[in-house]
């Protein structure tokens, strides 16, 4: 990859921190406004704790903003506001379901958001250069595998809704897959940066497509096995799909060879078919999807209730929605976690649903933009991987919830109730901001002599 011609021709990005602050105010207005609307919709009054709630949300957002201003001044100005808006909207909708179902998930979610922002700040402070992540290629790979195996450990793991993807320690529960997602992106990026040439250049050309060498198939086969393993042993269709898709995208970007996609897609189809035949859990999901109406209502096993109630809710929401607090999203089982998109679709209508989809699209777009302008390979791969992870995860969960594809369990990033997911996604945003900061930062001007650095190193006084 060629560096741009020279400092004079170099396009210099502006910092745009003011724009970020302005957008953050809008995002805060979305979050606090939605919280107030929920109170008005359900109880007919603005919640009494609106000031403390809004204040806390504002404090978190301002803390994140100040950190960015200090340690990543050139970072993309749109990402943080989008994430703040989504998180605020998710909190409001969870609070709305709290009021209907009499639990207190929103308060816990706010605590998790606080932890997420703290880790966001910590990531930006500690990770001053994303390239250092390359050092942890194998460490994070090992950590990811350990995390993925933890739910299988007796005493720690717990099966929830058919999937063994939780670990429990005391009253704390944790979904390690969400964290593993970040670690795997780091591992893939580090590995591919080292081996991309071998993977890209060697091979045979068959029918216009460059196919890789057999011996280079190792890593993709390994990843395939890991994904299948997750599926077979943990029944976690969503994560399996996410990890494999993620790896495929990064492999393709690293090698620039469509042949890998062909290999990956064939492996995916073959694996899916085998799994469909062998694992009842997967087959059931597919059958549910192909005829959900046969699994809803009295006289059936009622396993399609979540999907059907989501579709009913979204249809009932129509174009402009019932209004926050005025729908019946509690009719969807687990609406606050995987199915929160259905609740938003019902209460904010098609307008709100499309807005949320667009916000996710923007996150992915900003991640890919950072990847495009990044000056180093590891940055490109990390940004593509993280952006692709968000895109795949949103597609798998929202598509599953809205009956576009078979339902698989994954959380909706930033919206769903769930600590591990929220914290992991805040870290993803921090890494993306770090990459975009280094990509947008003007390169150090080496052509002019006499910078203070040089002066001091040259003059050595005895």
């Amino acid at each position: 990859m060629a560096q741009p011609a020279g400092p004079i021709m170099q396009f210099v990005h502006r910092r745009r921190r003011g724009a970020e602050l302005f957008l953050l105010v809008l995002a805060l207005a979305v979050g606090v406004g939605a919280y107030a609307a929920v109170g008005l919709g359900v109880k007919g009054e603005v919640p009494a704790d609106i000031v403390s709630y809004g204040g806390w949300l504002a404090a978190l957002i301002i803390a994140a903003h100040i950190t960015v201003r200090m340690v990543a001044p050139y970072a993309d100005p749109v990402l943080l506001p989008i994430v703040a808006a989504l998180n605020g909207l998710g909190l409001a909708e969870i609070h709305r379901l709290d009021l209907a179902l009499d639990h207190h998930f929103a308060r816990q979610q706010l605590t998790w958001m606080t932890l997420g922002v703290a880790l966001f700040v910590a990531t930006l402070l500690i990770l001053r250069d994303h390239r250092t992540l390359q050092r942890f290629t194998y460490t994070s790979g090992l950590a990811a595998i350990v995390l993925l195996l933890l739910p299988m450990a007796p005493g720690l793991g717990k099966t929830v809704n058919g999937a063994r993807i939780w670990i429990h320690a005391g009253s704390l529960s944790f979904q390690p897959g969400e964290v593993a997602k970040v670690l795997l992106v780091v591992t893939f990026a580090g590995y591919l940066v080292l081996h991309r040439d071998a993977l890209a250049l060697a091979g045979r050309r068959v029918a216009m497509i460059d196919l890789p060498r057999g011996r280079d198939l190792g890593p993709i086969l390994a990843m395939w096995v890991v994904s299948l393993g997750i599926l077979v042993f943990q029944h976690d269709l969503g994560s399996s799909l996410l990890f494999f898709g993620l790896f495929l995208i990064m492999l393709y970007v690293a090698t620039e060879r469509a042949g890998w996609l062909l290999v990956g897609a064939s492996l995916f189809v073959a694996g899916s078919y085998a799994v469909y035949l062998l694992i009842p859990h997967v087959r059931e999901r597919f059958v549910l999807w192909s005829d959900v109406w046969a699994h809803y209502g009295a006289g059936t096993d009622d396993k399609g209730r979540q999907t059907v109630e989501t579709m009913f809710g979204m249809a009932y929401g129509g174009l402009i929605g019932r209004g926050l607090g005025q729908g019946s999203p509690w009719r969807i089982p687990f609406a606050e976690s995987d199915f929160i998109f259905g609740a938003i679709g019902e209460e904010l209508g098609l307008t709100g649903a499309i807005a949320v989809i667009l916000l996710y699209g923007l996150i992915v777009e900003r991640a890919f933009r950072a990847a495009l302008i990044s000056r180093d390979d590891i940055g490109k791969l990390l940004a593509t991987g993280l952006g692709g992870a968000v895109a795949l995860q949103v597609f798998v969960v929202v598509g599953g919830v809205t009956h576009l594809i078979p339902l698989t369990g994954l959380t909706t990033p930033f919206l769903s109730y769930g600590g591990s997911s929220l914290v992991a996604n805040w870290v993803i945003v921090a890494i993306l901001l770090r990459i975009s900061d280094s990509a947008r930062r003007p390169p150090p001007d080496l052509s002019l002599p006499g910078t203070s650095d040089m002066d001091e190193t040259q003059v050595v006084k005895m």
Partner: protein, 495 residues
């Protein structure tokens, strides 16, 4: 690496496009189909949680939705529940009866005529509110009928119907025993359904609207129909001499018919008016045979027998007069026994038809459907003719006979000082046996209208069961005063 990144970004764009298109399909193109599904509990709940319109009598709501603290937001409340329950019915999740059912689309706000209101609500961000329904009921007449029935004892079973003869407006409709619709509309569905089960198991069947759902032999009140048929045939007038006597042997039979009254019928020939005054079975049985099975059947159908005519309440029972009866059967129907059965509403319509110069108006209960907020009439109730039952002259002949019956006959208890009242009593043999072998006491009927020359109200009182000795049960003594009170309530609105 930028080229594959761009490719991947296009791939992701397609993913998001698919999500957006699918959401549009669900929430726009396919939304109505999903909303209309019968198994969509969300829409049913939302409809149940809507502020439903009120059912009004005059300016007073007898049923309205008031805000409630539970998830359904509004609770249906019935005022004067027992008096109006047979009309309003009740409204609960997934089920409604009475007016709540027949006027459901309007009360819930879903009627097409409320489209503009819904649109305005949508733009203003208000929740949809149902329209109000105003009834034709005259509250004073309703109360008079209700109090009159209740005065006969706590376990009375009966009904009162009052009509405005010229329009068919139902001015009063009472059925006892009644029930408390508030208990059935309770959002504690378990409690409500327990109450419903208890009510439906009671032998007195309080959930039945006896005014329109109970058909019984109308007894001597049916002589109004027999007399109409005879005069309409052109062979009789009110002064015609007809055979009578203390007993009449049915044709082709050994069964003998007697009279209920002690005197007035014993002469071998009396005037038709006298036969009416003293309710002579021995005169009307052969008269029906003279008119013939076809003539009687046609006359009965002209008054509304064998037909469905009440649209404002669900499940109106059809009053029966079978076609092609044999002579003894026809003779029995001549005084309202045998195979003729009628609802109180049907007998009120017969009376109102005579009062309205022979024209029977279709009975109706909804005076106006009004907009949710401004109470402007969106759709007025329509008065329409059901049939021309008799000629005007026949009607006036029958009226004369009924006036004489109130002036000096069996119907004197309904006389109102200073007002000419027309009336006819009836005491129908049930023909049924109790489980212990004793005979079920007779049913007491009374029909009448006033003022006789320019009728404003026609009434039918039916007493299916009164806790009194059998020989005390007479249409005149029990039903007459109630009919009188109802007529007075209509005639003296401020009295």
């Amino acid at each position: 690496m930028n080229k594959p990144i761009r490719t991947v970004s296009i791939f992701c764009l397609l993913l998001f496009l698919a999500l957006a298109l699918n959401a549009t399909y669900l929430q726009y193109y396919h939304a109505n189909a999903l909303n209309d599904r019968a198994d969509n509990g969300r829409v049913a709940t939302a409809t149940f949680s809507r502020e439903r319109g009120a059912i009004m009598v005059g300016r007073t709501a007898i049923a309205e939705s008031v805000p409630s603290k539970d998830q359904y937001k509004f609770q249906r409340v019935y005022h004067e529940p027992f008096m109006y329950a047979p009309l309003t019915g009740w409204y609960t999740f997934g089920n409604e009866t009475g007016l709540e059912r027949t006027e459901n689309r309007f009360l819930s706000g879903e009627d097409d005529s409320l489209f503009v209101n819904r649109l305005v609500d949508l733009v203003n961000g208000n929740a949809t509110k149902g329209g109000n329904v105003r009834l034709t009921i005259d509250p004073a007449a309703q109360k008079a009928a209700y109090d009159g029935l209740r005065a006969l004892g706590s376990d009375v079973q009966g009904a009162v119907v009052a009509l405005e003869p010229s329009t068919g407006k139902i001015l009063a409709m009472v059925s006892l025993p009644s029930f408390d619709p508030n208990k059935l509309a309770d959002h504690d569905f378990k409690k409500a359904s327990a109450y419903a089960t208890r009510m439906s198991k009671l032998p007195s069947n309080p959930l039945l609207n006896r005014a329109v759902q109970t058909t019984l032999p109308p007894g001597s009140t049916f002589k109004v129909v027999t007399a109409s048929a005879a005069i309409q045939s052109g062979k009789y007038t009110s002064t015609s001499q007809v055979p009578a006597g203390p007993a009449y042997t049915l044709p082709q039979s050994h069964s003998v018919v007697h009279n209920d009254v002690l005197s007035g019928c014993d002469s071998s020939k009396i005037s038709l008016t006298q036969a009416m005054q003293f309710s002579c079975n021995t005169a009307f049985a052969p008269l029906a045979v003279q008119v013939g099975a076809d003539g009687m059947h046609q006359q009965a159908e002209a008054f509304g027998f064998n037909q469905h005519y009440l649209d404002d309440l669900p499940t109106q029972a059809v009053s029966r007069y079978p076609a092609g009866l044999d002579p003894p059967g026809t003779a029995l129907t001549g005084f309202g026994q045998g195979s003729v059965t009628a609802t109180p509403l049907q007998m009120a319509m017969v009376t109102a038809g005579i009062a309205n110069h022979g024209v029977v108006m279709k009975p109706y209960l909804v005076d106006a459907e009004q907009s949710p907020t401004s109470f402007e009439t969106v759709r007025p109730g329509t008065s329409e003719q059901l049939s021309q039952a008799t000629s005007s002259s026949t009607a006036s002949e029958v009226t004369k006979m009924m006036v004489a019956t109130v002036q000096s006959g069996t119907a004197t208890p309904a006389a109102i000082p200073g007002v000419q009242v027309a009336g006819k009593t009836g005491t129908a043999q049930s023909g049924l046996k109790n489980p212990d072998g004793s005979e079920v006491p007779p049913y007491a009927w009374f029909v009448g209208f006033a003022p006789a020359q320019a009728p404003k109200v026609a009434v039918c009182v039916m007493l299916q069961h009164v806790d009194q000795p059998t020989d005390e049960i007479h249409g005149g003594t029990l039903g007459g005063p109630i009919a009188k009170a109802v007529m007075e309530a209509v005639l003296n609105p401020h009295g």
